[in-house]
């Protein structure tokens, strides 16, 4: 069932993202052309097209957020909700589907933006620079041993979990906002800010209560060479990962509970 | 075949009357097979259960019979149909006489008016 939900969710959102991606690539190519020609009389069009390129990238970022909010709100909490919630699927499947599709577009947006920038910027000079960068970074990573690659993996995982966690926070906030009949948006934004505040408070509490242990650990650690510091990095990242995971799970269960028990479609 | 159903009388008894009419007037001839309950209900725009009830009543009265696998049929007993036809006709006549009497005509006047009007109709 989740697969079917995913299929339609992707269809619904692809109509927005794919054209934007296509536009981005087109302008990347246009900009590349301008840069290659580098003619004075083309200066104004060049500036315009460069600006448009930036606007599109910003647009893609903004769109990812807008679509996340709008799909959840429209498909589940407005008239379409009458269809969504009478489908023979588990409630949490709806949440799973939407957050996975959001993640997918977030990742794709980053990849497409990176590719378009690369396409624009790549020439003999930059290729040499990139080669030099990798020839320095990879040995450095190797020196750190397996820890280096673990760190890279953790960073990627953290990025994924953070995106999902933030998305779930947004969903939870929207669902809370929907409970009010007159001030949905205000309540939703308020809930989101509250979540942020709560996260900060808990983080501060954790850090201050463990500050003693943390200090001791780093003191002890500084006596060791670099690879040990990589271990520290690993642990820190692991900590952040768990932190994000816990909050993400909390938002997930909150949203699921509200949709199952407190749903009241107008 | 318009089904004329009034709103203040039970539907099923009106259906019984109308189907009787269809049978005695020969639209559903003796021995013929009736359409399915669902089709008849659809034609009359009524609930199939109500139609079923009406048909069951007519079976009880002997105007219809059903065979498990083949469906419902009008009875082949032509006499029985004639009897029903006659009793319906008598009912109409009695009503007519009563109405004429309410208008103020006596038996003799009613009969002559009836004959005269029938002549003109030719």
């Amino acid at each position: 069932m989740l697969r079917k939900l995913l299929k339609y969710e992707i269809q619904a959102t692809a109509r927005i993202f794919l054209p934007m991606y296509a536009l981005l690539i087109v302008f990347a190519l246009i900009n590349k052309f301008f840069m290659a020609v580098n003619a004075d009389y083309l200066r104004i069009p060049q500036i315009i097209s460069a600006s448009v390129f930036v606007i599109i990238i910003v647009g893609i970022c903004v769109m990812t957020l807008v679509v996340t909010i709008q799909r959840y709100n429209k498909n589940l909490l407005s008239d379409e909700g009458y269809l969504s919630f009478t489908l023979p699927v588990k409630i949490h499947s709806h949440i799973d589907c939407k957050m996975l599709v959001t993640l997918m577009w977030a990742v794709l947006s980053v990849i497409v933006s990176a590719i378009s920038i690369f396409v624009m910027a790549v020439n003999e000079k930059t290729i040499v620079q990139i080669q030099r960068f990798f020839s320095e970074v990879i040995p450095a990573l190797n020196k750190l041993g397996s820890a280096g690659y673990v760190i890279v993996l953790e960073v990627l995982l953290l990025a994924v979990v953070a995106v999902l966690s933030e998305t779930l926070a947004i969903y939870a906030a929207i669902t809370i906002g929907n409970m009010s009949s007159k001030h949905k948006i205000l309540l939703g934004i308020g809930a989101y800010l509250c979540f942020g505040i709560i996260e900060q408070i808990i983080a501060s509490i954790l850090i201050t209560s463990f500050s003693g242990t943390i200090n001791q650990y780093f003191n002890w650690l500084s006596k060791f060479p670099a690879p040990a510091q990589a271990n520290a990095m690993q642990l820190i990242l692991l900590g952040l990962l768990i932190y994000s995971l816990v909050f993400g799970a909390a938002y997930y269960f909150l949203t699921n509970w509200m949709l199952r028990k407190k749903l009241n479609l107008e | 075949m318009a089904w004329n159903l009034k709103s203040d009388r039970p539907i099923y008894s009106q259906l019984v009357e109308q189907i009787e009419l269809l049978i005695v007037s020969g639209i559903y001839p003796a021995g013929s097979k009736l359409p399915s309950v669902r089709d008849m209900a659809g034609e009359a725009s009524v609930n199939p259960n109500t139609m079923q009830r009406a048909l069951a009543q007519l079976e009880n009265d002997g105007l219809l019979y059903s065979q498990r696998t083949s469906g419902r049929f009008v009875t082949e007993d032509v006499e029985s149909i004639m009897k029903t036809k006659n009793s319906l006709a008598q009912g109409l006549i009695k009503e007519f006489i009563e109405n004429m009497s309410n208008l103020g005509y006596d038996r003799q006047q009613t009969i002559s008016l009836l004959e005269r009007t029938a002549e003109e109709e030719k």
Binding site: M1, K4, K7, Y8, A12, R15, N75, D79, E80, G81, Y82, L83, F85, T86, L87, P88, V89, K90, R260, K261, L263, N264, L265 | L5, S7, D8, R9, P10, I11, Y12, S13, R38, A41, G42, A44, S45, V46, N47, P48, N49, T50
Partner: protein
């Protein structure tokens, strides 16, 4: 399981409003039932509860003996009062959608009905008039071979010719294993099609009877009785 829908001491309380006041009801299979009552009487609340869209404050509502959940959603076909279709699909898409999610969806039937009602399947839902959207929704709902159909005001916004077609569809969709529950104000149009009616007012069941019993006992149509009972 004899009853397709059962309410046991069902209570639904909203802030400031008692929508259903300990309702007890049993609707058997193979019936076409009218749920009749003025606005705000609790009809829509009961239907939403049956669909699992809202949860009871206390008491139970059972579909084929089960509480609302995935298993009941598989056998219930719901037509809400509002249009619930999304914008971006066309009719073909939404038919595929229903076919994907509901095992009992009959695509051929849906296309037949679309043709009879003159709806072009390539049309985008966004561009349709309200009346056409309502027809499409009704077709989608009636093309399922469900065990319980919950129709909330199915003939309200439709022209009289389509209305007749819809009532005929309801009659021909009848099966001994299915029940159709129609919630409506347009009682006169629908009366002949109903087995039974349920009068509901302010969260309480006021009357449960067959249409013919009412006509026999009261010598008036259900519509006329309704106007009497719910006189303003």
């Amino acid at each position: 399981m004899e009853n397709i829908l059962e309410c046991q001491n069902l209570v639904k309380f909203f802030p400031g409003c008692l929508a259903l006041n300990s309702v007890n009801l049993a609707v058997p299979k193979g019936r076409i039932v009218g749920l009749l009552g003025p606005n705000g009487s609790g009809k829509s609340t009961m239907i939403k509860l049956a669909n699992g869209l809202i949860t009871p404050t206390s008491g139970k509502i059972l579909i084929n003996g089960m509480e609302p959940g995935i298993e009941t959603k598989k056998i219930v076909s719901y037509l809400p009062e509002r249009t619930y279709l999304n914008d971006w699909m066309n009719v073909n898409n939404i038919i595929d959608f229903f076919g994907d999610f509901y095992q009992d969806f009959n695509k051929q039937k849906a296309y037949d009905m679309l043709r009879r009602l003159g709806v072009d399947p390539a049309l985008r839902l966004k561009t349709m008039s309200k009346g056409t959207k309502e027809k499409v929704q009704l077709i989608l709902v009636m093309s399922r071979e469900a065990e319980l159909y919950l129709l909330d005001e199915p003939i309200g916004g439709v022209d009289p010719a389509a209305r007749d077609y819809i009532l005929d569809t309801i009659i021909s969709n009848y099966s001994e294993n299915a029940t159709i529950l129609i919630s409506t104000h347009l009682i006169a149009d629908v009366e002949k099609v109903l087995d039974e009616v349920i009068f509901i007012n302010q969260g309480n069941i006021v009357l449960v009877s067959t249409v013919d019993d009412i006509r026999e006992k009261e010598n008036k149509s259900v519509d006329a009785l309704f106007r009497e009972v719910f006189k303003c």
